[in-house]
């Protein structure tokens, strides 16, 4: 089939800003986006720059934005893209500086992964709890818990897709936090509390907006957002309850337990009462809401049969 592919080309070192260049090429029907790029590089323009190695969704080198979606070029069929979007447009991954064409400088990604110390550590002051000279046996449940996050091939697709990373460069992002959970969940690691405490800060697990972009983008089903949710749960269960994020969850649960329903008149109240600065900042908004009949009364009758809901919720607490 004869196709058209638009490639975002740039060469910042030589002062060439990004622009789209369109190539028309005859390709076999089931060709991947990566093989199309390789064909173009070999036959048409040797200067087209991109990373690749395995061509089979293993090495994680060839991630790029394909019609806006961050994913592996070797794992994406040209025909599918044309069918879905009617066109084929490739761009470098987001959130990292472009070196040339589709190749980005990966350092911002690696900095984030390194920041979580992604290796199992023992408490420094003593010998490891497990015998280092032998293999360590783990039970299946522990392995299952780490399984998703162990599958990461560091392709950076999730980081490129991450919506908080669009607006905040301090956020560690999905892959790094998934790695962090990989280690927190590892029964051999002896620095859990330290890790959870370090990531309880700005840029850590509370900054995720749960947009699911990383879950959708990941070619290896790592589900980074689920790992972030697990980190939050571990943090609350480990007593790290001093953040707005953890208060949000625990207050939400309390309100639903009492009324069967979330009352948005009470939720922000609970959040701002702990912080007078916040209270002042929401006051004008509250007045405006009142004017539009949008301020729900903080006192609400519970739903019928609320006892059933309480029973379900209390069962867990036991």
């Amino acid at each position: 089939m004869r196709i058209e592919i638009e490639i975002e080309r740039s060469n910042p070192a030589e002062g060439q800003p990004a622009r789209f260049e369109t190539f028309r090429v005859e390709v076999p029907r089931h060709i991947t986006v990566l093989d199309t790029l390789i064909k173009l590089k070999n036959e048409v323009d040797g200067s087209i720059t991109f990373r690749r190695s395995c061509r089979s969704a293993i090495c994680g080198s060839c991630a790029m934005r394909i019609n806006g979606r961050s994913g592996l070029a070797c794992d994406t069929l040209v025909e599918d893209e044309l069918h879905r979007f009617g066109h084929l447009r490739v761009q470098p991954l987001a959130h990292m500086p472009v070196m040339r064409d589709l190749a980005v400088d990966m350092q911002p990604f690696w900095n984030r992964v390194e920041a979580v110390n992604p290796w199992v550590e023992t408490a420094p002051e003593r010998e490891p709890a497990w015998p280092v000279e032998r293999e360590t046996l783990m039970d299946q449940a522990a392995v299952d818990e780490m399984d998703d996050t162990s599958k990461c091939i560091m392709c950076m697709a999730c980081f490129s897709a991450c919506e908080v990373s669009d607006v905040d460069t301090r956020f560690l992002g999905p892959a790094a936090l998934a790695k962090a959970y990989r280690v927190v969940a590892d029964p051999r690691d002896e620095r859990k509390q330290e890790r959870l405490t370090a990531l309880n800060e700005v840029g850590g697990y509370w900054d995720c907006t749960r947009c699911n972009q990383c879950v959708q983008a990941c070619p290896k089903d790592v589900k980074p957002m689920e790992a972030i949710v697990h980190l939050r749960r571990e943090a609350i269960n480990a007593g790290l309850t001093n953040t707005a994020g953890s208060r949000h969850i625990t207050e939400f649960i309390k309100i639903v337990r009492s009324e069967g329903r979330l009352n948005e008149g009470r939720m922000p109240l609970k959040m701002v009462l702990s912080d007078p600065k916040k209270l002042l900042s929401v006051l004008p908004l509250a007045v405006d809401m009142l004017r539009h009949g949008k301020l729900p009364s903080p006192i609400h009758p519970p739903i019928p049969r609320v006892k059933e809901v309480r029973r379900i919720m209390d069962k867990k607490a036991k």
Partner: protein, 293 residues
């Protein structure tokens, strides 16, 4: 055959967004869709309860689904977030072992869940069950010339493995509805993005940057208003729009309609019936412009 659903309002439509419930009921009446409200249904957990207590959230939704099942009806939601959470719960509850475990906690309540109920958002009902051709025929006041930016919100699109409706990267259902109403959909990249609502209480500035970016992009591409199937998106885009304007140092002033509000305008329902006065960013002018009185 008359369409009939077990109507799950979710919390927002009973709290901050009563206009969503009101507009839904008005549109359903106009389209002759029968809604039996699940008045004893609880919060779906919004993914928030599940962050700490996954099984509790699952059990709450098994209870909600069981109520629809007992009526012999599929459930209709009007909130993208509820849809995401309940769809996912329903997929999990298809596994017999999971369902049995969760049902243990429901014994003594109104009943257990057998796993036979479908869950559809109003948007999906319109596209799949009511049908866009029929909707087009029902339109009495076509929204000719109105340029509408669709804002899907995360949970009605992602993770798509639990939803199985729209293409998460190139959804078409809202565009289909907008066209059926005689209006014109506006394309912009923010249409599939996150509104930032889940972090608005934790990190308002990041959330407002997200809102601001999407609103300005849509406006730049010519949108007269946005339409959303999620009341939580609606809160961030509408209620917080003033804050987003502060964050972006720009006046934006883009009306944000709930899905049934937009549909209602094309069915000739007035601003009163659709609760348009409650929208924080003025939508009354827009209603007047399309001839709604």
């Amino acid at each position: 055959m008359k369409l009939k659903y077990a109507y799950y309002t979710g919390c927002a439509a009973k709290g901050v967004c009563p206009e969503l419930d009101q507009a839904t009921q008005a549109v359903a009446r106009a389209l002759d869709i029968e809604l039996i409200e699940l008045t004893a249904a609880s919060c779906c957990g919004a993914g928030v309860i599940g962050e700490l207590e996954y099984d509790t959230q699952l059990a709450m939704n098994a209870r909600n689904l069981a109520m629809a099942e007992q009526l012999g009806l599929n459930m209709m939601t009007i909130c993208g977030t509820c849809q995401g959470v309940i769809s996912r719960a329903n997929v999990a509850l298809q596994h017999t072992a999971t369902r049995d475990r969760i049902n243990q906690g429901l014994i003594g309540n109104g009943g257990i869940y057998k796993g036979t109920t479908g869950v559809l958002h109003l948007l999906w009902v319109l596209v799949k069950e009511f049908g866009l051709a029929r909707l087009e025929q029902a339109v009495t006041h076509p929204l000719t010339g109105l340029r509408v930016g669709p804002f899907y919100g995360c949970y009605i699109l992602r993770p798509s493995e639990y939803l199985g409706f729209d293409d998460p990267y190139n959804p078409r259902s809202l565009e289909g509805v907008i066209r059926a109403l005689g209006a014109e959909p506006v394309d912009y990249s923010g249409r599939t993005k996150c509104c930032g609502f889940p972090i608005v209480l934790e990190n308002e500035s990041n959330a407002m940057k997200m809102v601001g970016a999407h609103l300005l992009e849509a406006k730049g591409n010519g949108a007269d208003c946005l339409v959303t199937p999620c009341p939580l998106c609606h809160m961030n885009l509408d209620l917080y729009q003033g804050k987003a304007e502060q964050e972006m140092h720009r006046k934006i002033g883009l009306p944000i309609l709930h899905l049934p509000q937009l549909v209602g305008l094309a069915l000739g329902l007035g601003p009163e019936a659709l609760g348009l006065r409650r929208n924080m960013v003025d939508a009354m002018q827009l209603a007047a412009d399309v001839g709604a009185t």
